[in-house]
């Protein structure tokens, strides 16, 4: 897919685009506005906020647990958000897109939604099942996660359907695709921040994802630098994505393996429902760690270390840290609607910054407060704030967000390197001089101390001189070490300067520690069979357990172990890791067996150990006698 895209690109596309430094914020944003590629079957696209708040009411969740409506639906305006009603300490202010629905309303909304969205052209296909991609532990964790949803606060079932209908109505009345852009100038970088607002995040309800919530703010950034002649050119692109932070969030503009660029516009592959941004098209298995299992994870990590380092055994479950992964797939195939320059749908830009009142003054949530303690189902706050009202790091630290706070612009880097070389060279000259002077002084002290060695009447003086001599000697040694280290550093710096002057770039992925890679299509063998198996296997295990209890209650535990053993082995064939699974399961059983043997026969083992020790000692002593 990617290679095709690159092949089809005209030659000039791969060269860096430029824009005058004097360009206005809007011109800058427009020049590099991204192309968003959605999945087929996506319901929500980036919208303006005016149309959204027209459908919303403003509420307040009080600390005593009550919700209180502050402003009715249809009466919320940007002016109100610019000066929102005050809320008491501990209360949560939130907008609400979908009013509380009774059973009848919910059913009606669902039916209407199903009828209106019967669009075969734009229908989502999950493809390879998410459960088929992971093992039994993750599937059980998934079941556990689903159960937690019953206990946690969650967005009501029909909300997604109503939200989608309202978005359709809004689009029918005035179709537009909007981004909210912001331009920040910092440390020589010009940062273009693009915010995308969606009416609803339907990842859980429509795509078996982690969560649903009303309103969704997503963001990406472009980092430009002055490249001379009064022009700016892009150097980095940073996309906000699940599970990644800092350096891992950004790609270099010329990194053709990781960043698609179309006519000077970066391409973003948008996750289905989650609206997370990805550099490459595909399906991403997202690791959602279960906080409750963190102590177990830590314990297993410790045991794994003991197993591998102390017992010199091969790892049972891989060498990395244990992660209980819940198999959520973020579908970012990019095979649906495209929005952006030269696409079927073009952008309507809106420039924002701290001086825009609703951005600065509305700290509440942009959708339903679902009372979810882990916040996944609560709506987000605006572009400037976190859910708790604090300022987002992506707003106040646009460079640090993508790990660029430590990276100067390319011209500045060369200047800094030159300056550093000059500093070091000056320091080397100074060190030469200092070492010469101090070495002479050291010699003087050395010969003086030697001359006084035989004179018993000046012992105190000799001791003082020797002390001074030793201190000076240590000082000279430190200076020589610094000089040698500086030499090495200077060589490296000069080599880098030469490389940069010659236009030789570093590996564009050198800064990336964890690369987000879409799941490979060839990850599973016998796709259909694997999917069918993953769908029925947990049920079959349960049926097997029930059969054992009913027909052979005496052998339940043995039968269960055998059943799990067989199921795990079958599963491993689909995942192509039969050998590793056999080893892992057998080693696990062996450890259990050893523990059982030790536990049941500890007295015998102690006696046996004592006898063995006694024999060894006697043998050692007898050998010593024989020598």
């Amino acid at each position: 897919m990617r290679s095709r895209l690159i092949k089809n690109m005209p030659a000039q596309i791969s060269s860096s685009p430029k824009i005058p430094e004097t360009a206005s914020d809007l011109e800058l944003l427009r020049r590099f506005e991204p192309v968003l590629r959605f999945i087929r079957g996506e319901y929500f696209y980036p919208s303006d906020i005016e149309r959204y708040i027209q459908h919303c009411s403003l509420w307040m969740h009080l600390p005593d647990g009550h919700d209180e409506m502050l402003i009715r639906q249809g009466q919320v305006t940007l002016d109100i958000l610019a000066d929102p009603p005050p809320v008491p300490t501990g209360a949560v202010q939130f907008l609400r897109l979908v009013e509380p629905l009774d059973l009848g309303d919910s059913a009606k909304a669902m039916i209407t939604h199903t009828r209106k969205t019967r669009d075969k052209e734009n229908k989502f296909h999950a493809g390879q099942g998410r459960l088929a991609r992971v093992g039994y532990i993750s599937r059980l964790a998934d079941a556990f996660f689903s159960l937690t949803l019953l206990m946690r606060g969650r967005v009501p079932g029909a909300t997604a359907a109503v939200a989608e209908l309202e978005y359709r109505d809004a689009q029918r009345a005035d179709e537009k695709y909007v981004y909210h852009g912001r331009v920040i100038r910092h440390n020589g970088w010009v940062v273009l921040q693009y915010w995308f607002f969606y009416f609803y995040n339907g990842w859980r309800s429509a795509y078996h994802g982690v969560n649903d919530h009303e309103a969704d703010w997503e963001m990406m950034m472009l980092y430009l630098y002055p490249c001379g002649d009064g022009m700016l050119t892009p150097r980095w692109a940073g996309y906000a994505a699940h599970d990644f932070h800092g350096d891992d969030l950004r790609r270099r503009w010329d990194d053709q393996d990781q960043l698609d660029v179309m006519d000077g516009h970066p391409v973003v592959y948008v996750g289905a429902g989650s609206h997370a941004s990805y550099f490459r098209p595909g399906e991403y298995v997202t690791a959602v760690s279960v906080a409750l299992l963190a102590p177990v994870t830590r314990l297993l990590d410790g045991l794994n270390k003991f197993w591998m380092e102390t017992l010199k055994q091969a790892p049972i479950f891989g060498t990395g840290p244990f992660v209980f992964r819940i198999p959520f797939v973020d579908y970012a195939r990019g095979d649906g609607v495209n929005i952006g320059p030269g696409q079927k749908y073009e952008w309507t830009p809106v420039v924002i910054n701290e001086s825009v009142p609703w951005v600065k003054n509305y700290r509440g949530l942009w959708g339903l407060y679902a009372r979810d303690p882990i916040a996944g189902e609560n709506a987000p706050s605006g572009p400037m704030y976190n859910r708790d009202g604090s300022v987002r790091s992506s707003w106040y630290d646009t460079l640090g967000f993508s790990g660029l706070d430590k990276v100067p612009t390319p011209p500045a880097e060369l200047d800094l390197l030159d300056k550093r070389c000059v500093e070091l060279e000056a320091r080397q000259v100074a060190l030469d001089q200092e070492i010469l002077v101090k070495s002479e002084a050291l010699h003087r002290l050395g010969v003086t101390a030697e001359a006084l060695q035989d004179d018993a009447f000046v012992t105190k003086q000799v001791l003082a001189i020797e002390k001074n001599r030793d201190e000076l000697s240590a000082g000279v040694r430190a200076l020589r070490r610094e000089q040698t280290e500086n030499e090495v550093l200077l060589t490296s710096l000069k080599r880098r300067v030469e490389r940069l002057r010659a236009g030789i770039e570093d590996d564009p992925q050198m800064h990336i520690k964890h690369l987000a890679e879409p799941a490979s299509a060839a990850q599973l063998r016998f796709d259909r069979l694997a999917e069918a198996w993953s769908a029925v296997s947990i049920g079959l295990i349960l049926a097997g357990i029930v059969s054992l209890i009913l027909f052979n209650p005496k052998e339940v535990w043995t039968g269960l172990a055998a059943l799990l053993f067989v199921f795990v082995l079958i599963e491993s064939i689909f995942h192509g890791n039969f050998q590793q699974t056999v080893a892992a399961v057998s080693v696990l059983l062996a450890v259990m067996a050893m523990l059982l043997v030790i536990f049941m026969n500890w007295q015998l083992i102690l006696v046996g150990g004592a006898i063995a020790l006694a024999i060894y000692l006697i043998w050692q002593n007898v050998r010593e006698l024989g020598r």
């Binding site: 091969a314 043995t558 053993f565 039969f578 050998q579 590793q580 056999v582 080893a583 050893m594």
Partner: protein, 181 residues
């Protein structure tokens, strides 16, 4: 002793992998275990011959008749056995079959065949599950539990896995020696 000096067959041009001492140790432990298992199976069948004979129409075949005479099996009518009579026969046959299978895996393990490693591992895993079942039934066999677990843990050692190229990342040149050297 020629029988046990198995060497992995390799082409002349191919380097061959040196068999670590622990592989030989595991193989010996397994061989003893398999021979004992086969012996127990044969002995069980021998003891149960009169019952086994009732399952086979001996008089229908002169060869079978001759064998029965040689083994001094008492002449009985062909018929069915009760579950209690059948149980020890099944156990003996099971021991014999698993013993032979285990022997086959062990010999290939000794020849440094990766699949020999996998199936011997699987074999011991299955044995452990059966032994756990015995423990739950109140008939623990701690010696067998210990031996099977020991074999598995020995097989899981890094040097053994390297010898069988189980984990490519552990592949090291120090165990690969040129045949010419």
């Amino acid at each position: 002793m020629k029988f046990f000096s198995f060497k992995k067959k390799t082409k002349d041009s191919e380097p061959h992998t040196k068999r670590p001492a622990s592989v030989t140790l595991i193989a010996w432990l397994s061989l003893i275990d398999m021979f004992i298992t086969i012996l127990i199976g044969l002995l069980g069948i021998w003891i149960m011959l009169p019952q086994v004979a009732r399952l086979i129409p001996i008089s229908a075949s002169p060869v079978l008749q001759e064998m029965a005479d040689w083994l001094e099996v008492p002449q009985t009518e062909t018929g069915t056995l009760t579950a209690q009579e059948l149980q020890p026969i099944i156990e003996a046959v099971f021991d014999l079959v698993t013993g032979i299978l285990g022997l086959y895996f062990t010999l290939n393990f000794l020849r440094l065949k990766p699949w020999g490693w996998t199936w011997l591992m699987l074999y011991n895993g299955v044995v452990l599950i059966i032994l756990f079942g015995d423990c739950i039934r109140g008939e623990p066999d701690y010696v067998s539990l210990f031996l099977s677990a020991l074999v598995i843990l020995l097989m899981n050692q890094k040097e053994v896995r390297i010898a069988f190229k189980i984990d490519k990342k552990y592949a090291s040149t120090n165990l690969i020696i040129s045949k010419n050297s």
